[in-house]
């Protein structure tokens, strides 16, 4: 039974008892308290104080990266005639957050502003629940709740770790002798400028821009039609990617790695594609290099979820990917449940016949030994392989960059 009804019933019993004493004064005293409690409840119900509130919630931004903060402000206006107590609250279930003002006394014609900061801990779309206004009557015996704002969505993109050079983009072309064909489309028309990166041709350095630059940083001209060999990042989205990895799951780590690599490649002018793969093609984004393409890749990486199927290297080998996807594949995979490491390495060597492959294996403490044995097996078939956990992403990317420089 609700607390206010319990109190009213208790008072009613006391009133009956006092009535039976036939003493008018004491009966009036009990009746007065009973009436006061009833008045409190009726005034609260019939004056509709919820209608006197205006709540405006502003979310600082709706798109951000993992590890960034988004500010949320609540502006509350109360235009009632008497003070009232209540609280405001909202939450984000997927981020495990719950915010509340705590119990407040709202005075008539006053504005309250509350500021909160949400740390985007995980990629994906997160829903900030509607702001619930929870008010209580003057004696705090009964309450009313109402949603005062709509829900808000925030898209948390994977975190992008800096990779300075575009050396990965040049890997396929340099190693496999595709330099000529890769640069075939270059014209004399300048498309834009970017920072100098190792292995850029000296004749493409813009010395004027370098002189004008405040830090005298070397700048490289980007010409219309300058296209290196496309690079495709293949991300395992099988059920192994749902395995916990520190605070995250394997797929979160893979998304951060893929986002960082794609960002670096596209910014360096390399056409970059993205494939989500389990035992078949799950999502295919053809290589391109414009800003919208990067945004599309980041959005897909933010929203991708592990499937219920297992990643199969043998199936990937048998896929007939068009030549648009280039000759360089960067594989980001999780723990593999495909039998022996030998079988895996054999499938990988088949793939390597026609492609330049680099592989990153995402693992956690439990799968570390198996990941190391896989790394060893794949290195034996000539595939540079790196290990990554949720805490070693920058380090993995650095080693990847250094290894690629050495290869080039």
């Amino acid at each position: 039974m609700k607390s206010h009804l319990k109190i009213l019933l208790s008072l009613l019993l006391l009133l009956l008892l006092s009535s039976f004493t036939l003493l008018p004064e004491i009966t009036l005293a009990v009746l007065a308290v009973y009436l006061a409690v009833v008045l409190d409840i009726l005034i609260f119900r019939f004056t509709g104080p919820l209608r006197r509130f205006t709540v405006i919630r502003k979310v600082g931004r709706h798109q951000l990266m993992v590890g960034e903060n988004v500010s949320v402000s609540l502006q509350v206006k109360y235009q009632g005639s008497f003070p009232i107590v209540g609280s405001l609250g909202f939450g984000c279930e997927s981020l495990g957050l719950d915010f509340g003002t705590g119990l407040l006394a709202f005075k008539p014609s006053t504005d309250n502003t509350h500021q909160y900061s949400i740390l985007a801990k995980r990629r994906g779309t997160h829903i900030i629940s509607p702001t619930v206004l929870h008010i209580r009557d003057w004696l705090m015996l009964s309450d009313q709740k109402v949603n005062t704002t709509d829900q808000d969505d925030i898209l948390v993109l994977p975190r992008i770790y800096p990779i300075r050079s575009n050396v990965i983009g040049t890997l396929g072309a340099r190693v496999r002798g595709l330099t000529t064909s890769g640069n075939e489309g270059r014209s004399s028309e300048i498309w834009g400028m970017r920072e100098y990166q190792p292995f850029d041709e000296y004749k493409m350095i813009s010395w004027k821009s370098m002189a004008k630059h405040p830090d005298q940083t070397p700048m490289t001209k980007i010409t219309v039609g300058e296209v290196g060999s496309p690079v495709t990042v293949i991300v395992d989205v099988g059920d192994d990617m749902n395995t916990p990895n520190g605070e995250y799951v394997n797929l979160d780590v893979a998304a951060d790695l893929a986002a960082s690599i794609c960002f670096s490649l596209i910014n360096g002018g390399t056409k970059t594609g993205l494939i989500f793969y389990d035992n078949k093609l799950s999502k295919v984004i053809k290589p391109d290099r414009n800003a919208n393409h990067l945004t599309s890749i980041l959005h897909h990486l933010a929203l991708v979820q592990p499937s219920s199927k297992s990643f199969r290297m043998t199936n990937l080998v048998n896929e007939n990917l068009p030549t648009d996807f280039g000759k360089t594949f960067i594989l980001i995979i999780g723990r593999i449940r495909e039998g022996t490491t030998g079988a895996f390495a054999s499938a990988l060597s088949m793939l390597r016949k026609h492609h330049q492959i680099m592989m990153i294996i995402v693992h956690n403490e439990d799968s570390k030994t198996y990941a190391e044995s896989l790394q060893h097996a794949s290195r034996q078939v000539g595939v540079p392989t790196f290990l990554a956990t949720s805490t070693t992403i920058p380090e993995t990317l650095r080693i990847l960059e250094q290894t690629t420089i050495a290869l080039v």
């Binding site: 008072l11 036939l22 004064e25 006061a36 009833v38 008045l39 009726l42 119990l103 004696l139």
Partner: protein, 286 residues
């Protein structure tokens, strides 16, 4: 604000005034002194005093076995009746028994007064209940003492209990009704006591709710912000009480004894219905 706080501290004194008028007179004092001279009263003081010491020091709850705790509590509270019952059985004299009964009533009265002053953990039901029982105990003490002196004994239980079940006279039971001494002063002081007890009960309910809902910081601030609203509720309740006046005046012309029954219960049921309707309406909206 400082004055307001002082007012709040002395507020429980106002409802006590009519109770003091009922109990602070020579009739009650004589009965208490006579009862205090009996052996049963001395035993009562020792046992109840021990109980209160054990209770306030939390010694009873430290006993491992709950059965022993229960036996000890009941023993200490009920044992004072053992000797007077023995006297009633052997000597056919009820004086000692009635003396102990008076002592119990006096203790009940003091506990009720203590609850009126207590600030934490006591809601509106306890406050008004304490006031009701303090009034009833005071009236029973006075009535028992008054009737006892008429018959030459310190205290008369039957007359004291009659005050509790006054409604029985409506069924033809020959109850002996005793009206409070200085009745006019009791009535006048009750007109001050009623608003005071409303405010006291509502403030207590608010403090209890605030402690339950917001036990951490801020509850004091919330209470002080709502004090004007509580004051408004108290005044509104007094005004609404006036609704009972025409019905009461009409009922008095029919049967004076029904004045506490028909108007109060009918209004109580009517407003309870309103609450239930609003409850249903609220449920439908949500």
């Amino acid at each position: 604000m400082h004055l307001f706080n002082i007012f709040l501290k002395i507020l429980p004194v106002i409802p006590i005034i009519p109770l003091v008028i009922i109990i602070a007179n020579q009739t009650v004092a004589t009965s208490l002194f006579k009862a205090a001279e009996t052996t049963s009263f001395h035993i009562w003081v020792i046992l109840i005093g021990s109980y209160l010491i054990l209770r306030t020091g939390n010694y009873i709850s430290k006993i491992k076995w709950i059965g022993v705790q229960v036996i000890l509590e009941i023993g200490l509270l009920a044992m004072p009746f053992a000797y007077p019952i023995y006297i009633v059985a052997t000597e056919m004299s009820s004086v000692q028994f009635e003396g102990v009964f008076l002592a119990y009533l006096s203790l009940g009265f003091l506990v009720s007064i203590y609850l009126l002053f207590r600030r934490s953990g006591v809601g509106s039901v306890w406050k008004i209940g304490a006031f009701l029982f303090a009034y009833l105990f005071a009236l029973m003490i006075y009535a028992g003492s008054f009737a006892g002196q008429l018959t030459g004994v310190p205290f008369l239980i039957t007359i004291a209990v009659d005050q509790l079940f006054r409604v029985a006279i409506l069924t033809g039971y020959p109850a002996y009704l005793v009206y409070p001494p200085s009745e006019i002063y009791v009535s006048v002081s009750m007109t001050l006591a009623i608003p005071a007890i409303i405010f006291l009960a509502l403030s207590a309910e608010l403090a209890k709710s605030a402690a339950r809902i917001a036990p951490q910081k801020g509850s004091t601030n919330i209470i002080s912000n709502l004090k004007p609203a509580v004051l408004l509720l108290s005044l509104s309740a007094v005004i609404v009480l006036a609704l009972t006046l025409p019905i009461s005046l009409w009922v008095v012309t029919l049967n004076r004894q029904l004045v506490t029954l028909i108007p109060t219960i009918s209004i109580a049921i009517l407003v309870m219905l309103l609450v239930l309707i609003s409850e249903k309406r609220d449920h439908e909206i949500s």
